[in-house]
Subunit: 261 residues, 3 copies
Amino acid sequence: MMNFSLPFIPERENPPRETGLTSVMDKGLSLRQAEDLFSVAGHLIDIVKIGFGTSIVSGQLKEKISFYHKNKVKLYFGGTLFEAFLLRGMKDDYKRYLDTFQMEMLEISDGSMHMEHYEKCRLIEEFSRDYRVISEVGSKNAKVVYTEEMWVEQMRTELEAGAWKVIAEARESGTVGIYDHHGKANKHLIDTISHTIDVSNIVWEAPIKSQQVWFIKAFGPNVNLGNIAPSEVIPLETLRLGLRGDTFLDFIPEVIHLNNK
Amino acid sequence: MMNFSLPFIPERENPPRETGLTSVMDKGLSLRQAEDLFSVAGHLIDIVKIGFGTSIVSGQLKEKISFYHKNKVKLYFGGTLFEAFLLRGMKDDYKRYLDTFQMEMLEISDGSMHMEHYEKCRLIEEFSRDYRVISEVGSKNAKVVYTEEMWVEQMRTELEAGAWKVIAEARESGTVGIYDHHGKANKHLIDTISHTIDVSNIVWEAPIKSQQVWFIKAFGPNVNLGNIAPSEVIPLETLRLGLRGDTFLDFIPEVIHLNNK
Amino acid sequence: MMNFSLPFIPERENPPRETGLTSVMDKGLSLRQAEDLFSVAGHLIDIVKIGFGTSIVSGQLKEKISFYHKNKVKLYFGGTLFEAFLLRGMKDDYKRYLDTFQMEMLEISDGSMHMEHYEKCRLIEEFSRDYRVISEVGSKNAKVVYTEEMWVEQMRTELEAGAWKVIAEARESGTVGIYDHHGKANKHLIDTISHTIDVSNIVWEAPIKSQQVWFIKAFGPNVNLGNIAPSEVIPLETLRLGLRGDTFLDFIPEVIHLNNK
């Protein structure tokens, strides 16, 4: 849906799509706020994450989940909640929790607790029989640093184990994992990852505008981006389309661009 | 209200409670936005502050106040407004203002103007006969620095004068008072305060996530925290309960924790 | 509209007004969110900008525009969108776009593309025959730096060409144009501008609170400020009125002020 058709605007598929995904972080929207978001930007949203353990303490959860499902968005609870159940030896209770709320998707992560990687892959395999699994690589703890080889190897094996997509960790703050503590992208690491893993299978967490711009310039308008704040969904789409200053000239043929130098 | 019951989650009382308070900063919510907040997080909110002088210029004020009162939340106007009346010699007009809006609580502060401390205590005494008083210690001006002895002495005497709780100043930005200008907690000052004053009588202003984490680690999940943005009420509750990365392992018995090292 | 009348509060006209303007940045509000904003702060808002290219991809656009027009606010699409049409040689299509949505105002800018300045003035002249034109001076690219003479000269000639007001660029981030990359105001530049150009004809983009405070202290409570986030409209008004800590003593006669030193 575009309110006017302009030339030299990158092609974007409509959801449901397999690439060019925008994944939104819901950390406590009310039902009405979710409706508000979808009334203006529903056509731009592929995935909603009900962040970390917020689903446990939020009112209106059932109503909100039902609204999201009715709107055909892929929906899951943040991986930290999965880890909270697992740490307590309550894997089956987590399945019950998912089923109570008719969740068809979950995140499997090890950002807050230690897990042997073969065990993580086993869990991905197990859950992917009954659910869509999105898995996440990278620690929330800035002190836990993986080598580039570990990033690639973990992503590769988690996809092989059955993960639909794999998320590259950055937190809501955008300051760990693929970024330094100022939020600057680790170019060498991201290059290495993208040379081995099909980029369409990765969702890069990019909560900060400069990070969104960086990934769009590196991988094009249809890169998958996650941890997008609800109020940033529409601004992000304008970045993807070259309709904001930061990417204004990125998708324009040189001949037009040069005329305006 | 929890959507699922997990073990090793800190005990939290339901409001009305005297400790573990979450105090929200409303700096201009509409009635509908207040309703949205309470539909998902009303059971987590103890206090709402209608910040600084915003009540003077906001539409829908009467309706919003009536909504908050109906929801049994403790409600007050920011102390800067009290100071604005006082500076103009209009103390009785402030009482009229409070009564017009059926406010049962007020903040007495001296963050923006000079006041002799015995005079502040006298005002606390006077107002606490007819209203619930919350008083605030600390200047909004980063150049006005109190000694640790002054912090303790002021808090002690204000509570004795009749204040229900005393607030430790940090502003909406979280960069003055008990924090340095980067927002980092002044550990020595806070230690000194908490050795003399009963922590359950203090509301620590902690608008930034790292500050909330710091206080929860220092004083436990039931520490009183203020200047919480509406959108951060639910995320804060997950920090209190160990359902977010930052405090994920803080409330877990060592034996379980070690199994996952 | 004030909920209580206090002395020593700066005089503010009601909209429609020609000075003391507050211009809001809407980067994707839903119709209901716009209604919420106006229910509490409609009387404080003069201008709404539907930022950069967001109008192209937003749902509910027609309904929201009609709501804004019904509320008598001056409304325009961000200048980046004008530039996106112009770069593609589609000036007349932009007029069609404006007319489809019954827009009576537009922004003419050259923040994202190069344009000869006489050509920009010619466009201002042309469009101002049929529309209210707001023009913008300053590049979104931090590397493009104008001399102070260029700032003054461009503002002067754009107003002469027919611009209703001229905007001093800062972006949504507040870190270019009239500010350094930390967001600190370029005092010398702003002084120079204000000595030649009538300040009532300038809208200073000031998204950050410290910037709003700076301009209110420099030019008084009725300075025109732009790129104000919806949630900051009411807090900004309290800054203009001396009802927030930062400007608390700015409009108070010395005799009262000194009594409280």
